[in-house]
């Protein structure tokens, strides 16, 4: 038996005013899209991240010069807004005469690569821990909480530096070290989200239907904590990008001649008193990228929040 409240009883004679008007049906995706388009922070964040991702992907096409090509006769040319700027090098050149704009564009590949891979590794570790703790509770929860507390007590920058130094700093090592260190927030957030979802009726129904824990975790729990997961992933991406820059700045992260933004700031530091733009340009690039990712994450959180809650 079906009940259809909107169907008029006598279609031919019923006055239009007697019809029950249902709100137009919208899919969750359509609602999210509508909210996204009216959320300023989300739009700005998506715009910034979109442009930087495009620049990273199209780097070989849009970079005006080879980022590694040195030219000692054209060292430390200032950017275009200076009187001594050059039309050939919009953002000037570094101490080895390498084009700064080209290095900046290629540097975005490094930041994005490290942010994405570190967030992926730490996301897998943290989500596994958090979901297990949230779903099983009790002893499992206690053990996971203990592991998270222990991890939080270790000073991240120091431990990352020490590990990178022992293995030898490189892009791969930075990704691994950060991936293995930054899973704490993933674990904390997915644990809380899983506890909420676990209390829902559909999980009880799946249990009653005789489904095993693997299937319940994969099909009932994971899809429902995905929004929370995306928000943490953006935060941790931003965190990893900032940490990579710091490690590279201290000389134990990405190694020269790779154009990591943190490394560019380290290489520019001896010249910053007379050519301040050598540290300003990569610094602003970092700031803008991290700001964009954070705005995107905050936006996703607001947009996916249930109606009326922000």
């Amino acid at each position: 038996m079906t009940v259809r409240p909107a169907a008029p009883l006598a279609p031919a004679t019923a006055a239009p005013s007697a019809e029950i008007v249902l709100p137009p049906a919208r899919s969750p995706a359509a609602i999210a899209l509508r909210r996204g388009l009216s959320h300023g922070g989300f739009l700005i964040g998506a715009g910034i991240v979109g442009i930087i991702v495009l620049a990273a992907l199209a780097a070989p096409l849009i970079a005006p010069h080879d980022p590694y090509a040195q030219d000692v006769s054209r060292r430390l040319i200032p950017p275009f807004w200076h009187a001594k700027g050059s039309a050939e090098h919009w953002l000037g050149t570094d101490k080895l005469g390498r084009d700064y704009l080209s290095r900046l564009i290629y540097g975005s590949q490094i930041s994005l690569l490290i942010g994405l891979s570190a967030a992926l590794i730490s996301g897998v570790i943290g989500t596994a821990l958090g979901v297990l703790a949230g779903y099983y509770g009790g002893r499992v929860d206690a053990v996971v909480s203990y592991v998270v507390t222990t991890r939080l007590a270790l000073p991240v920058v120091l431990v990352a530096l020490a590990m990178a130094s022992l293995v030898g700093g490189s892009l791969k090592v930075v990704v691994l070290v950060l991936g293995l260190l930054l899973w704490d927030r993933f674990a904390v957030v997915t644990r809380a989200a899983t506890r909420q979802v676990r209390a829902q009726d559909f999980v009880a129904a799946a249990k009653a239907a005789g489904f095993g824990p693997v299937r319940i975790l994969a099909q009932e729990i994971l899809p429902n904590i995905l929004n929370a997961l995306i928000v943490v992933a953006t935060l941790e991406m931003a965190h990893a990008i900032l940490l990579e820059a710091a490690l590279s700045f201290l000389g134990l992260g990405v190694q020269p001649p790779l154009p990591s933004w943190g490394l560019m700031i380290a290489e520019g530091k001896p010249y910053m008193f007379f050519q301040p733009w050598v540290i300003t340009i990569p610094g602003v690039a970092l700031l803008v990228l991290v700001l964009g990712i954070n705005l995107l994450g905050d936006g996703v959180r607001d947009i996916t929040a249930p109606e009326g809650r922000n």
Partner: protein, 304 residues
């Protein structure tokens, strides 16, 4: 409360033990210490000699036992690089880092709490939005770059403050701002949300209905309750700051614990690195324990 405190202290001791094992293993498993100390040109015999000299040829469990037993008595052995005992090195550097941390925390709280209160009081106005923008910007700012930029503005252009070193109190201002700015957003948001919650509570409404002046309500009724969780957060942030000060100390050439750690990592001085990791971890554990106990003391609901 006593049962909660005992359980929480037990967990803290356990975590402290686990952290010491972890920091020990991290350094002993991520590479061969003897080879790293000997350098790239050493022969096999030289590496073996160094291994025997530092006792690195003993089983790991024995090495850990000996190290942990000494560490418990605040003896971290001898530095590979300096002639001094590690403990003496740490004792000389810790005050600089602690001073930096305390000033940075003060800067963060002095900016964040008034800003959070203002934002809550003027919710959804331009003041609120400005405070939000400042906090979003703070989370995105690379601290070492912010430090360099502060040097450019206040030391090079305006010539108000010294560039680097730790000779006078003036040397601590810029690094403290650079370090404190990073902790500010979290404190600001927590103050704002706490104030919003308190301002909509019944007892504040009662106080308003009694006709108390707004300033009195704000300070005597609202702020006092909103600030409790902020104190706990500040303790945790202080722990994070001590760990993060390594970058800031490198930028400003402050001769603190972080600078010592950075240099020791570069010259493979493992006893020093290990001791600093351990000391920072212990300070963090003690701070979070104090924060948890304080919160539980003030809010019985947390004693579950």
């Amino acid at each position: 409360m006593l049962r909660f405190a005992l359980r929480r202290i037990l967990v803290a001791v356990g975590v402290a033990l686990t952290v010491s094992v972890a920091s020990f293993l991290l350094l002993h498993l991520s590479g061969d210490l003897a080879t790293a100390i000997a350098g790239p040109e050493a022969t096999g015999a030289q590496i073996a000699a160094i291994r025997a000299q530092h006792g690195l040829d003993r089983p790991l469990a024995v090495q850990f036992g000996a190290w942990a037993w000494q560490a418990l008595h605040l003896d971290f052995g001898r530095s590979f690089y300096f002639p001094e005992q590690v403990t003496d090195l740490l004792a000389a550097r810790l005050p600089v880092t602690l001073t930096l941390g305390v000033i940075a925390l003060a800067v963060a709280l002095l900016v964040a709490i008034p800003l959070g209160v203002l934002a809550a009081f003027h919710r959804d106005t331009w003041i609120d939005r400005t405070a939000l923008a400042v906090s979003v910007l703070g989370q995105a700012m690379p601290s070492f770059w912010f430090g360099l930029t502060l040097i450019l503005i206040f030391s090079v252009n305006l010539r108000w403050l010294p560039v680097s070193g730790n000779a006078t109190w003036k040397h601590f201002i810029l690094p403290a701002v650079a370090l404190g700015y990073y902790a500010m957003p979290a404190v600001m948001r927590l103050t704002r949300n706490g104030m919003l919650e308190v301002l909509s509570s019944d007892y504040v409404r009662t106080a308003r209905a009694k006709g108390l002046p707004p300033r009195k309500i704000l300070i005597r009724h609202a702020l006092r309750n909103a600030v409790i969780p902020v104190i706990a957060l500040a303790a945790v942030q202080f722990g994070f700051m001590l760990g993060g000060s390594i970058v800031i100390e490198a930028v400003f050439s402050l001769q603190g614990l972080g600078q010592l750690a950075w240099e020791s990592i570069a010259r493979n001085d493992f006893p020093v690195v290990q001791a600093i990791v351990l000391v920072l971890a212990m300070i963090y554990i003690a701070l979070t324990l104090a924060a948890d106990l304080l919160n539980a003391l003030l809010d019985p609901r947390l004693r579950a």
